[in-house]
Symmetry: C2
């Protein structure tokens, strides 16, 4: 177990309060909560509890296929593999592809390195530079041909930097990687929480580059980490390999019935409005506070550097006592105890945090 965004239950227990009393800025989820439709899905799933899940998740796969079709990308069922959240899929991918070397721009989500370690893959870290906005560019990678199956592991928008990889750069990385037989795994679990939504996705390149593997999840956009649902998009050959190694029935009946959420246009629209209102507003308010430096976010979370004497750990503890949970970002490779990550929440919550920060950094 790595230290992740907030174990809210642990904090609630420590404080002797209910988990719902904690203002959680550590988990970067859609603050709108889950779509109302999920309540109906849960109700309708009760009849499926007494059956083993469909091991091929035919309905769910079909929904995912139609979701991408609606944005102009034609996939077949054999390009799609659902999983128990992105986490299962990250580990399954590395375990199946068994890359000798994994090129990893850092800071990034810690599970990538965990998965590499577990499968004896050598990690080559590429340290992103805050002075050029943590940009991920094609010239950063070596594209070695020394092993048969090296992997470049990317995340867009990247966690914790909240920066989108430009499509032009993405295409160039894919082209160069392709020439050297390098597979590119691209984690897009936050892509639907960017201004522009799927327009920022590399999904349009999936049929052009057979070395592209995209990870998606229902977790962040639909705020449903408690249900566990993610999926992989890739060429049939890779999906087949993954499926043969995946545990049978790892997706529960509610998750497997959740595909219809992808067509909740009103929910996506409401999410867009919130993000357009709060992302920049919260950033500029944070930016006005002396003693911290927020990096401009392109998704629903903000990386922040502490400029005063205090540390991420001290700040986190101080806020826990006020029933506010933030993400101490010191354990991200390439960062240190001067960094924190904040989820962008609803206006009211964001304003509460701004007031707390103003007092702390006064």
């Amino acid at each position: 177990m790595t230290a992740h965004g907030g174990n809210i239950y642990e904090v609630a227990m420590k404080l002797g309060v209910d988990s719902s009393d904690i203002l959680d800025f550590s988990a970067n989820l859609n603050p709108l909560g889950y779509p109302k439709l999920l309540d109906d899905i849960i109700e309708n799933s009760k009849k499926d509890i007494i059956n083993y899940p469909d091991p091929d998740y035919i309905n769910l796969t079909n929904d995912i296929k139609n979701y991408f079709k609606s944005m102009g990308t034609v996939l077949s069922d054999s390009n799609i593999l659902p999983g128990n959240g992105a986490t299962e899929l990250i580990f399954l991918l590395i375990e199946t592809l068994k890359p000798k070397k994994i090129y990893l721009p850092v800071p990034c989500f810690s599970e990538y390195e965990e998965a590499a370690k577990k499968n004896n893959g050598k990690v080559e870290r590429i340290y992103l530079n805050e002075t050029d906005g943590f940009d991920i560019r094609p010239d950063m990678f070596k594209y070695d041909r020394d092993c048969a199956n090296n992997v470049i592991m990317l995340c867009s928008p990247n966690n914790p930097t909240s920066k989108i990889i430009k499509l032009k750069n993405m295409k160039e990385i894919l082209r160069k990687a392709s020439e050297s037989n390098i597979i590119v795994i691209l984690d897009e679990t936050f892509i639907e929480l960017t201004i522009g939504n799927n327009k920022n996705s590399a999904i349009s390149l999936i049929n052009e580059f057979s070395n592209l593997i995209i990870i998606r999840a229902f977790t962040k956009i639909f705020s449903m980490p408690g249900i566990r649902l993610g999926y992989v998009i890739a060429v049939e050959r890779i999906i087949k390999k993954l499926k043969s190694r995946q545990n049978t029935w790892s997706i529960n009946c509610i998750a497997s019935n959740s595909g219809k959420l992808l067509f909740e246009n009103a929910f996506f629209e409401e999410t867009r409005k919130w993000l357009e209102n709060e992302k920049d507003r919260f950033f500029y308010l944070l930016n006005e506070i002396e003693g911290i430096k927020p990096y401009y976010p392109e998704s629903n979370f903000i990386l922040i550097k502490i400029l005063t004497e205090t540390t991420s750990g001290i700040l986190k503890e101080k806020l826990i006592n006020e029933k506010i949970l933030i993400r101490d970002a010191s354990n991200f490779d390439g960062l240190d105890n001067k960094y924190i990550r904040l989820a962008i929440k609803d206006k009211r919550s964001n304003d509460i945090l701004i007031e707390k920060f103003k007092k702390i950094f006064a």
Copy 2:
């Protein structure tokens, strides 16, 4: 994917009917369905959907601990690891223990061999004999000391033979295995569906033998395969190792809130009554049909040998057309296309099957 007990969705799709229209004798679940309390648990879990599950599943672990305490076995939290159904745990165990050799009495659940293969373990099959009631005895194993970490993989009651391993035999196997540093993995996922319930379990031996690992599940007794919940009981050292390799959050919030089901005494009582009424009645009715030979069941399913010209595959197809699904047991190692497995269901369903069989085998 191995051929398992019924993919009911596939059959329903093929017939163009709803899955609830299929009489499913292929999945050996409690025919009482899931306890009503699960509906309340689902309702109360809605507030947890927006949070990541507690990675330590503290409440669930505590419930499991108290369940065993109520039958006189004292465990600590560090002896318990919940998982995404028994399936995740079987694969996690073999992947973590990495046994060179796995002694496997067959016929048995096919996932054991799948897990061994996936992790390059050599399987030594021990063929059980129908003439002595598929009995599993201590003298069947070799207890080699040739490798550091060999495993004896057992299932009680065994699937598909429906026979309980006698506690006296179990103790002797554990003793001999212990002397040779062999770990015994015991799958007890059906134990609560035996007459005598936990009295047939080896759980009382867990604090005596550090080489004993027990797998349990909520799936069969609470008829909730759609939710995904199982757990392992073992010494702390093994649980720690397993946990360090397990995917984070593989248990969803409904599953992790389901521990209270273990204290539904009225449900256990109703289950006992049904099993006492139907197990022997169904067996004797099947036994009267010429052309088949049922083996006396000690759990909620019956292994049957076909004595006529027909095969398990033909019989299965014939019944599918009548919207009845049975388990073709021909792909169990040690069996062939003369064997089927039937779940014991409610009286009405069982009687329907008896009438069909009478016609087919007339």
